[in-house]
């Protein structure tokens, strides 16, 4: 059935909505069409404007490019000039990236670019390009397909521009321009109003060439305009109105497109629709309001009356019907309400009667309930004993207390008595008996057996309730209370007290209890032991009698205000009975017991600990001082946290403190960035990585790196650390110590620099000496050669003497040179001893022969004797032994004017194949004073030192002797008496040769058969004097000599003639001696003569020179200045060796 309310609502809504909806649809459609048309017209106007502007831009480019023809001589100019002109053009037209100038035949002539360089001669053929062909044909301009430059990734528009002959109109050239599409960017940006209005330039294939979003250009997107007054698809795919206009330069080149989004195009439409919606909603709301008001005034009273009737029908008699605004509804409601009022009055009376009855019943039930609760609340068991009948009433609780069922036992006195513990029966009955006499209520504690066989403590109370006329008790009433738990608690307390007493007594620390006045009220055994007093003595004493730091008044003051049970630790001293003082730690607190305040103290003797602590503190101070002095800083690195923890001393290395750095913890990155030298950071990271990844559980490391202090100074750190791993083997911590080694490092670097400087100086010195030796020996060789030649000529005695003296002078100079070099070598540590077998007698002969003449000249006696027990052959450096003896003997003869010089060699005791020979050199010369003795072994020092010196010499001899003796492991001693001569003891170690080696020396000097013809010698030397003197001397010695001035000439001579031997200087122009020797030994043309003996005759006389030349293929070596006798010996030796090898 249709309800009145629904009918009214429908009528009002229909009347409001139908006209509005119809009107809205008609107006909306009309407005929509109008807006689309308007947007289309706007877009068309916009695209046309943009098209015209685009034509202007292209026109400007074409005009600029064609302006090149204004240079009258452009086409005939030099290509370089043409290139410059085109580059000027390119610079003036930034929208063009490249210009290619090509002839009508399509051949590229010049190409210039804004970012690339093209060669002048690069004849590309452009005729196949469509824009070229089209421009050539149309004699105008043409666009090619869009290209993307691979280098800059930008789309370019190829634009071919024909340059025509102004007179004949023929095409003279084509300029192919690559136009950057960015040129249109400003244009489209000016005309676009994003996000709703966009302007585009597109190609004929609809590719976007310019847009506000240039990425669409670079991405190669296409857009096709709808060209109709309707909504199509916009740039972003959303509805839009779009129009394209053509861009023409004589022909259709590009499109100018305007796109207006539907949002913009239909903005007025949407706005109108919103207004319409608002009106619609408000109308709807108004209609609803009218419907509601109508319903409230008319429908609601009727509805309410209906609802009231339905309620009364359902039993709700109190329901009242409202009157309403109208008369009919008001009267109807009053009649209705009167009927229901009478009905309700009757029902209320009935309800009151029923309520009174229910209340009485509820009170009765409550009374019963309270009584039950009282009975249950009594937890004690009740008993009621009739003495006259012997009957006893036991309540159910009485039985339940002991675990029995009610009425489990007979109701008599025996039941009670039998359940009492046998030990408690007599005492309990005694109490009950006393009660019967006194009549006072009694209490007795006793145990009773429970149902499970156990015992419970019971507190029994009772009192006589009835007596007979004689005053005898007839009835006693009492209770049983279960006090088992209380009894157990009392026992526990007693046991605890005993236990605590034992603990106190057994405590190693002293425990005392004192009142607030400091009077000791209890102590334990440890206190007695600690202080030496008896317990009784202590209980008569005050704390102040023991504690030397706390008077009794202070004691009270301290503990009076101290909170209860808050322990305090006090370090003080206690005086023992025997007078000793002990350091003690007292831990005390105040506590209440029975309203009395006590102080409980735990006293520990810390005398030993204090001594240990002081020792530890001292040790820590010492360690801290050591850390400070050694500039050590320790640190700890937590790997997982990535944090460093430093010490104060660590920070002090970096000239900072924890306060400045904000604490002792710092991240690894902070530490590295603040303190590590940038060049060493990688190295430190590597070390840290090695440490953290090492599987060695005991991994330790030391390394050094540079650091930077907070004041930007650089220093050096030595880092020592070890790692800590967890149970899984993962490195979790690193502990380390850093030491500032800056000063040590700087000192080491300075030392290293000094060492390098010293070594450089030594090298310079060696090089100087080598050069000096060579440069002195060469002219000296000429001098000696000439003197030796002079000796071979006719001379007067006087001349002979001069020559001999001159030769001696050269010999002395040579020796001096050798001495200086020896000193230098020894000092440089480069002196080498050569061990070879030699004959002691041969040594003796050589010394004897050498000095005999000099001794004779000075008319002194000279002798060299050998003990018969001395080994005939020895192994050692014969040359150096000879040099020592030469110096010693030479000195002895030099400083002896009368008497004799005697040398004697004798063996000293030795073991195995070792031999030690003692040489004594005795003279009767001037001797050496003790003052002189200490200096004469120094270089350049002589015993006789004055400007009028009598004895010649550089003073190097004894210095070398001492060094040579030392080098050979020998000893030298001088026994002297000034004015009476000198005795020198020289002992030198040698090895003894094996027996079969005895003949080796004999084999060294084979006798050569006399040749049938003179030995042919090729003598090569660049020093003319040496060459002349050497040649003459050799010829005078019987050799046939041919000379050469350099190695090259020597090779030439050798290729022409045969020779038996070559004397080869080393340092020569054109080709040196070593190169010449190598050529002879290795080159084909000399194959037949490759084994010819070659003797190096050179001024190179340093250590190793001889070996070097022999290794280069030479057979012998003689140093300049050359003594002819020595040279002959070398020649013979080399030739003998040659003959042995050939035979």
């Amino acid at each position: 059935m249709t309800r009145l309310r629904t009918l009214l609502n429908t009528i009002f809504l229909a009347l409001a909505l139908i006209p509005l909806l119809a009107l809205g649809a008609i107006l909306g459609l009309t407005l929509y069409k109008s807006q689309i048309d308007s947007a289309y017209q706007s877009a068309k106007a916009l695209s046309t404007s943009v098209g015209i502007k685009a034509e202007d831009i292209l026109g400007t480019i074409v005009t600029d490019v064609r302006s090149i023809t204004r240079y009258k001589d452009f086409f005939s100019a030099d290509p370089r000039v043409q290139r410059d002109l085109l580059m000027e053009l390119l610079a003036s037209v930034p929208s063009v990236l490249e210009i290619t100038y090509a002839g009508p035949d399509g051949r590229q002539k010049i190409k210039v670019s804004g970012f690339k360089v093209y060669p002048l001669d690069d004849p590309q053929d452009l005729s196949a390009r469509p824009e070229f062909a089209e421009a050539l044909q149309s004699k105008s301009i043409a666009c090619g397909p869009i290209e993307t430059d691979p280098n800059i990734g930008e789309p370019l528009l190829p634009l071919a521009i024909a340059l025509n002959d102004l007179v004949h109109g023929e095409v003279k050239a084509i300029m192919l321009c690559k136009v950057r599409l960015r040129v249109f960017l400003d244009l489209v940006q000016d005309y676009s109003q994003p996000p709703d209005v966009h302007v585009l330039i597109t190609g004929l294939d609809n590719r976007i060439l310019a847009a506000t979003d240039f990425s669409q250009v670079l991405a190669g997107k296409h857009f096709s305009a709808a060209n109709a007054p309707s909504l199509g698809s916009g740039l972003d795919g959303k509805p839009a109105v779009s129009v394209a206009s053509t861009v023409e330069m004589g022909r259709h080149l590009l499109n100018a497109v305007a796109v207006i989004s539907s949002h913009e195009a239909l903005a007025p439409f949407y706005k109108s629709m919103r207004v319409y919606g608002i009106i619609l909603i408000l109308t709807l709301a108004a209609a609803t309001l009218l419907a509601v008001l109508s319903r409230r005034r008319i429908v609601t009273p009727i509805q309410t009356l209906t609802d009231t009737a339905i309620s009364i029908q359902a039993g709700e008699l109190a329901a009242q019907a409202p009157g309403g605004a109208f008369y009919e509804t008001k009267k109807l409601a009053e009649a209705f309400n009167s009927m229901t009022g009478q009905l309700v009055g009757t029902m209320n009376k009935l309800k009151e009667q029923i309520a009174g009855r229910e209340k009485a019943q509820q009170e009765l039930a409550a009374s019963r309930e309270r009584m039950d609760m009282a009975l249950n609340a009594v937890s004690d068991g009740l008993w009621d004993w009739r003495l006259d009948t012997g009957e006893v009433y036991y309540s159910p609780r009485w039985f339940a207390m002991l675990g029995y069922q009610p009425e489990a036992f007979p109701s008599n006195y025996e039941t009670w008595k039998n359940l009492i513990h046998p030990e408690d029966v007599s005492r309990t009955l005694e109490i009950v008996g006393e009660h019967l006499v006194s009549g006072e209520p009694f209490e007795a504690e006793f145990r009773m057996r429970t149902s499970d066989g156990g015992w419970k403590w019971i507190l029994g109370r009772g009192q006589v309730m009835e007596k007979d006329a004689q005053g005898r008790a007839l009835r006693i009433l009492g209770t049983h209370m279960d006090i088992t738990e209380r009894k157990h608690a009392d026992e526990f307390i007693l046991e605890s007290k005993a236990r605590y007493r034992r603990i106190v007594e057994n405590s190693a620390d002293g425990i005392f209890l004192a009142d607030l006045d400091g009077n000791i009220v209890d102590v334990n055994s440890a206190s007695v032991r600690m202080l030496g007093y008896t317990r009784a003595e202590l209980l008569d004493m005050n704390v102040a009698d023991i504690d030397l730091n706390i008077p009794s008044s202070d004691f009270k003051q301290i503990w009076k205000i101290s909170p209860d049970e808050q322990a305090q630790t006090i370090y003080t001293v206690h005086k023992c009975k025997n007078g000793t003082i002990k350091d003690v730690e007292v831990r005390a607190c105040r506590f209440m017991e029975s309203d009395n305040i006590f102080v409980l103290g735990l006293v520990r003797d810390v005398t030993e600990r204090k001594i240990t602590e002081e020792a530890l503190k001292k040790s820590q101070n010492q360690l801290a001082n050591a850390v400070k002095i050694a500039q050590l800083g320790h640190w700890e690195l937590d790997i997982e946290e990535g944090k460093f923890t430093f010490s104060d001393s660590f920070y002090s290395i970096f000239r900072t403190s924890a306060e400045e750095m904000g604490g002792y913890v710092m991240s690894i990155e902070d530490y590295v960035n603040r303190f590590l030298h940038p060049d060493d950071r990688f190295m430190v990271y590597e070390e840290a990585r090695k440490a953290t990844t090492s599987i060695d559980l005991e991994y330790k490391c030391y390394f050094e790196h540079r650091f930077v202090t907070t004041d930007d100074k650089t220093g050096y750190l030595a880092v020592n650390y070890h790692i800590v791993k967890d149970s899984s083997g993962k490195t979790v911590k690193i502990y380390g110590v850093n030491q500032d080694i800056t000063e040590a490092k700087n000192a080491a670097q300075a030392l290293m620099a000094a060492k390098e400087a010293a070594e450089a100086a030594t090298r310079a010195k060696s090089e100087f000496l080598a050069n000096m030796s060579h440069e002195v020996r060469t002219p000296l060789n000429g001098v000696l050669g000439m003197l030796q030649l002079l000796q071979t000529t006719e001379q007067t005695d006087e001349q002979k003497e001069y020559v001999v003296r001159a030769i001696k002078s050269t010999s002395r100079l040579t020796r001096l040179l050798a001495d200086i070099l020896d000193i230098s070598r020894i000092e440089a540590g480069k002196f080498q001893l050569i061990e070879e077998e030699f004959s002691l007698s041969a040594l003796k002969e050589s010394i004897h022969d050498l000095f005999m003449i000099a001794a004779k000249e000075k008319r002194i006696e000279f002798a060299f004797t050998i003990d018969p027990t001395a080994p005939p052959r020895l192994i050692g450096d014969e040359t150096r032994v000879r040099q020592i003896l030469f110096n010693l003997a030479g000195n002895a003869i030099k400083f002896t004017e009368h008497g004799s010089v005697r040398i004697h060699a004798a063996p000293l005791p030795s073991k195995g194949n070792q031999a030690r020979i003692l040489f004594t050199v005795r003279d009767t010369g001037i001797g050496i004073s003790d003052e002189q003795l200490k200096d004469i072994f120094e270089p350049f020092v002589q015993a006789e030192e004055s400007y009028t010196r009598k004895y010649q010499g550089a003073g190097l001899g004894l210095s070398i002797v001492r060094k040579l003796v030392k080098l050979q492991g020998g000893e030298l001693a001088i026994d002297n008496t000034p004015g009476e001569g000198t005795l020198i003891y020289l002992s030198l170690p040698f090895k003894l040769p094996l027996a079969h080696e005895g003949q080796v020396g004999a084999l060294r000097q084979p006798l050569l058969e006399a040749p049938n013809r003179p030995v042919r010698i090729l003598f090569a030397d660049d020093d003319e004097i040496s060459l002349v003197s050497g040649k003459k001397l050799l010829e005078k010695s019987g050799y046939a000599v041919l000379t050469a001035k350099d190695g090259q000439e020597a090779l030439h001579r050798l290729s022409e003639q045969d020779f038996d031997l070559i004397l080869m200087d080393i340092q020569m122009p054109v080709m040196d001696g070593v190169a010449a020797a190598k050529a002879i030994r290795t080159q084909g043309p000399f194959a037949a003569k490759s084994t010819i003996p070659i003797i190096a005759m050179t001024a190179y006389a340093m250590v190793g020179d001889k070996e070097k030349f022999l290794a280069a293929g030479m057979d012998g070596y003689i140093s300049k200045p050359v003594d002819m006798a020595e040279l002959r010996e070398v020649i013979n030796r080399v030739r003998a060796k040659q003959s042995r090898s050939t035979s």
């Binding site: 000027e88 804004g114 970012f115 360089v117 060669p119 990734g153 919103r274 909603i281 609803t288």
Partner: protein, 334 residues
């Protein structure tokens, strides 16, 4: 309490009417974007200036529609990383970085949060690893790169000294930009028929730049497009002046400070170019849809510097130049 249906309808109608009124008659509330700027060295402050100008012209006025977070230019990679962490913590809508090293650092710093990044300039974003493809940058970075025009710069240098047959090029062998420049220069040298004498110089500032470094017969000095050599342009300029030969740079400001000639980008221009890309990003276009763009290069000539070494600049060169410095810019003391 249960709402009566008619009351509910009434409230609903009121809300709808209010909403429609608001959307119809009141404008949209504009959002203020946050742009963080991170720069390595202060060489590109003019780029930032151009960027801000470009943003303002596009409607993103500072203080109204955009707020900038600009820490001081970093002097090291570590400082760059710190600046990036600081600005990214403030959740910017866009990051503007310059030059290459800042772009590389920004790429690493935005791997997680993918904040859009615009760079300008970066010499070669592909070889430096900033993007893998300039047409479609696959990451969250795009921006403006420099044109590969080192060869063209060599050509402009030679147009000043047409008789030069040898050009001295000092370079840092550890710098990828320098190697790319050398590659372009060598190609151009072949086309121009001249000899390139490339000499590596040490990264240390103690590395001596003296006349002894310049090979005999060098007619000009060419500074490749990389930081180390360009940072020592004053020493190279002194050497060039002593020898009376021109010096070439890719930077306008160095020409303004006495270098003879230059060919390269103008900072403010590429800043404006980058701003246009930034507006696209702020409007919601993903970086991968914004291809990397290439900067425009220009010729610069310092006539005073040319006169100092007795060099006569041809009229053609002057016509090609977009900036001709007649008087040297006064040094500014901070």
């Amino acid at each position: 309490m249960r709402m009566k249906p008619w009351a509910f309808c009434g409230v609903l109608a009121f809300v709808l009417a209010a909403y429609l009124t608001k959307t119809s008659f009141m404008g949209k509330e504009e959002k203020t974007f946050v742009i963080a700027v991170v720069q390595f060295t202060s060489n590109n402050l003019d780029t930032l200036e151009g960027f801000k100008t470009g943003m303002t012209e596009a409607g993103y006025e500072e203080g109204r529609r955009v707020k900038y977070l600009i820490p001081d230019p970093a002097q090291s990679r570590a400082e760059l990383d710190r600046h990036l962490v600081q600005v990214l913590a403030q959740k910017p809508d866009l990051l503007f970085v310059s030059p290459t090293l800042a772009a590389v650092a920004a790429k690493a710093a935005t791997v997680e949060n993918r904040v859009p990044v615009v760079f300008a300039p970066v010499n070669d974003p592909v070889s430096s690893g900033v993007v893998a493809n300039i047409q479609t940058p696959e990451a969250n970075l795009t921006g403006v790169r420099l044109a590969p025009s080192e060869g063209r710069r060599l050509q402009t240098l030679l147009s000043l000294v047409p008789n030069a047959t040898k050009v001295f090029v000092p370079y840092n062998p550890k710098e990828s930009s320098a190697m790319e420049s050398l590659h372009q220069i060598h190609d151009a040298a072949m086309a121009l028929g001249i000899e390139i004498e490339a000499t590596p110089i040490g990264a240390s500032h103690d590395f001596p730049i003296t006349i002894a470094l310049i090979p005999a017969g060098a007619g000009a000095i060419f500074m490749p497009r990389e930081g180390l050599v360009m940072s020592r342009f004053k020493e190279l300029l002194a050497v060039a002046d002593t020898l009376g030969i021109p010096l070439s740079t890719p930077r306008l400001d160095q020409v303004e400070h006495g270098v003879t000639t230059g060919f390269g980008f103008i900072g403010t221009e590429i800043g404006i170019q980058a701003a246009r890309m930034a507006t696209l990003l702020l409007e919601g276009v993903p970086p991968s849809r914004i291809p990397v763009e290439t900067a425009q290069d220009y010729l610069f000539v310092n006539l005073e510097a040319a006169a100092r070494i007795g060099l006569e600049v041809t009229e053609s060169s002057l016509r090609q130049a977009s900036r001709v410095i007649v008087v040297r810019r006064t040094e500014q003391t901070p």
